[in-house]
Symmetry: C2
Subunit: 432 residues, 2 copies
């Protein structure tokens, strides 16, 4: 596919429908002109790193299917490259639209490059993790990190072909002041955010990703790298949801988004986090309003703190509601969240849960392809056509597993001859 040294946004602004826009339009069954318009306005972003040729082109944003990201990656306790590649495979097979490599342990550049080489879906990263790990290796204290080092790592990762990066640009000295006044139950749960905050306090300096934002934009424009503006102050407890530091950061992210768009750089806005269900819709509205409709990427949201072991399900409750309210991109949460680095089973369950939430959101928003899929499934159900039910299922493997254990003819063990689908065929001729 032809690439240009201009960013997709830049080309969209001049009215050029790129091959990438066409491909995404086809994938989403919308007009290329729609994609052009939304990319120009920043409300749709295109994952299409110039460095990688084999990853699927993927649009995220307004009017498109709700997308799902799966976080994979090593930790310092558990670093096993083949395991991570297996997670990538499982996540992709389960229907993840993107993965983020959040590795913090082992040879980070090697792990990232292997993931990039293997992945057929776009890949995101958090460059700060590599910078921090390298600083720990160098001086034993990550707070010695230099701003230049952060930017060097970002450039290195962009050159490797990463599609989007999380950068915590909204944590400012002002945000930290508001955090102090707020007296949160849990001050910070963002790793990148917490490093930066500690760095700022130790060095008594403004966040370099904020202060040198134009430098970041120049880098991003050069590689057409999507900047996913992280929410370092996302609430990590229900009690802290939708508070002043969270909003301070979001307002800042809105300002930075406008700057980025002026520089033709595509932006994603990251959102909470732990949010009670009745605040989810307001959170989506706030993010969309304060950032002029930039694609919104939520972590969950987790609508309660008290269900560790089932946080994929908690995230699906929040994600479905967020998606229905307009969030464009759901970051999965696995059953292991808060407890352990996800296992292979956790990855599969996490993607399944988020895919379901995304589909529920798409139904809720009235997306016709989503309604068609439900229609097809229920039609197959009415006809007791098990093969087609497997075909239309979001998680066909699971359905096959369940059916394996079941002796069935045309009815299942649930109702047997009491099957309502058989007894219930009573409209039409039966009433004559």
């Amino acid at each position: 596919m032809k690439t240009s040294s201009l960013t997709q946004m830049q080309q969209a602004k001049t009215g050029v429908i790129t091959p990438q826009m066409k491909a995404v339009a086809q994938d989403e069954d919308v007009a290329p002109e729609y994609i052009l318009q939304e990319v120009a306005k920043g409300r749709v972003v295109l994952n299409c790193s110039r460095r990688r040729k084999k990853a699927k082109l993927l649009g995220i944003g307004r009017g498109l299917r709700t997308k799902v990201n799966a976080n994979i990656g090593t930790s310092q306790q558990l670093s096993d490259l083949p395991l991570e590649l297996e997670k990538l495979r499982i996540a992709t097979e389960a229907g993840a639209d993107t993965v983020m490599d959040l590795s913090t342990g082992g040879d980070l550049p090697l792990i990232r490059r292997e993931i990039l080489q293997t992945s057929t879906i776009p890949v995101g990263t958090v460059p700060l993790y590599q910078a921090a790990a390298e600083e720990i290796a160098r001086s034993g204290d990550l707070l010695n990190l230099s701003a230049d080092h952060i930017f060097e790592v970002i450039e290195e990762q962009a050159e490797d072909g990463v599609d989007f990066i999380t950068v915590h640009c909204g944590i400012t000295l002002k945000t930290l002041e508001r955090l102090q006044k707020q007296k949160r139950l849990i001050p910070m749960v963002s790793r990148g955010g917490a490093f930066l905050a500690n760095w700022m306090l130790r060095n008594n300096q403004e966040n370099p990703l904020y202060e040198q934002f134009p430098r970041l934009l120049k880098l991003a424009a050069k590689h057409d790298l999507i900047l996913s503006l992280g929410d370092g102050l996302r609430p990590g407890a229900i009690a802290d949801a939708t508070d002043r530091p969270q909003l301070e950061e979001l307002v800042t992210l809105g300002e930075l988004t406008e700057e980025a768009w002026k520089a033709d750089v595509a932006i994603i806005i990251e959102g909470p986090g732990h949010v009670p269900l009745e605040q989810v819709r307001a959170n989506v509205l706030l993010a969309k309003r304060l950032t002029q409709g930039a694609p919104f990427y939520v972590l969950g949201p987790l609508v309660t703190d008290v269900a560790p072991g089932y946080d994929h399900l908690v995230g699906a409750i929040g994600g479905a509601q967020a998606g229905a309210a307009g969030a464009d991109f759901l970051c999965y949460v696995t059953p292991g969240e808060h407890l352990r680095l996800p296992t292979l089973e956790d990855v599969e369950a996490g993607v399944a849960a988020s895919k379901i939430a995304a589909h529920v959101a798409d139904l809720s928003k009235g997306l016709s392809s989503a309604w068609q899929q439900d229609y097809n499934m229920s039609h197959a159900r009415r006809e007791l056509d098990w093969a087609k039910q497997i075909e239309y299922a979001l998680t066909p493997r699971k359905v096959k597993d369940f059916c394996h254990h079941t002796e069935r003819g045309t009815v299942c063990t649930m109702c047997g001859e009491f099957c309502a689908l058989k007894w219930g065929k009573i409209d039409g001729e039966s009433l004559k």
Copy 2:
């Protein structure tokens, strides 16, 4: 506990605070006068069969915690009493507030009595299943069933000490006419509803549970049996949600509710079913308005058709939203729904999912005990106190399972030394 020959509602209407009302008030941490008022108005029902002494007293309705029911019971394909008792044990341990014995295979009275004798939580049934099974045994054709037989089975079950029964009183000839005009994708998915509809069509007669509703009320009043008015026309496909036959039935249930209240009989209203997320709130509102605030009992709702194998999760998404909108009682859906009679694992996963949904709803409604639990959990999380995290978890067994597999000191394998909870402790003194 003292019992009276008057129903709880009858006593409430005369201003008598019964021991049962006091017990429920204490359990829910509300004033006995509140329970008195709500029971008198029909908006809270008390599960307190006079026949059974050991089951927990349980209130369901406005202002109380959202409750969870687990369906257990045999089918004609799979009838195993010890297995059902084990399901009862697992459901109770996982936190189900009630169970319904939906057995359709084996010695139904024996199974029910064993469940009633064993259960420490209230038990509901669908008497029509027994009547149908007995008629099949007698004549080989359940459509030969007599109205008297249905009422005899109801009386038998009430005398056994069942707390509440599902009766599909709202299926009328008028409803079936509207069903015919609607041309649904899946006409009926309620087993009891489908039997009755077929019976009515075959015998060209009105539904006896509708036509002889006063007879049913007399029986219910005698035993202070709660009538859970079934939704035979609940949508079984997203495409059929919130349609005319569903509403016709609901309107009828509203009229019957008023009749029941005049006879001092407690009512629960059953609701959908398959409903897209953006229609859930309207469904709760309609049920509450059309029945003057009777407790609302939802099956799921299932917010998509396409996730068999994960329907517990789909039901949790819908149940959380329904509960937040005012539904009082969530019927669990298990991963096996649409595929097989639930296994023990399915029962546990189903209860866990619904308990989480109920808790999310309680948080959303601002219930202070729910908020306190989340506060406690997040406080324990901040302190990296794993023992307390297990204590405050909705599903402690699951958390223990996960922690088993994990080597940990004070941090987990997810972030290791990058733990944001350690790095993130930066408000207060750190900023000075």
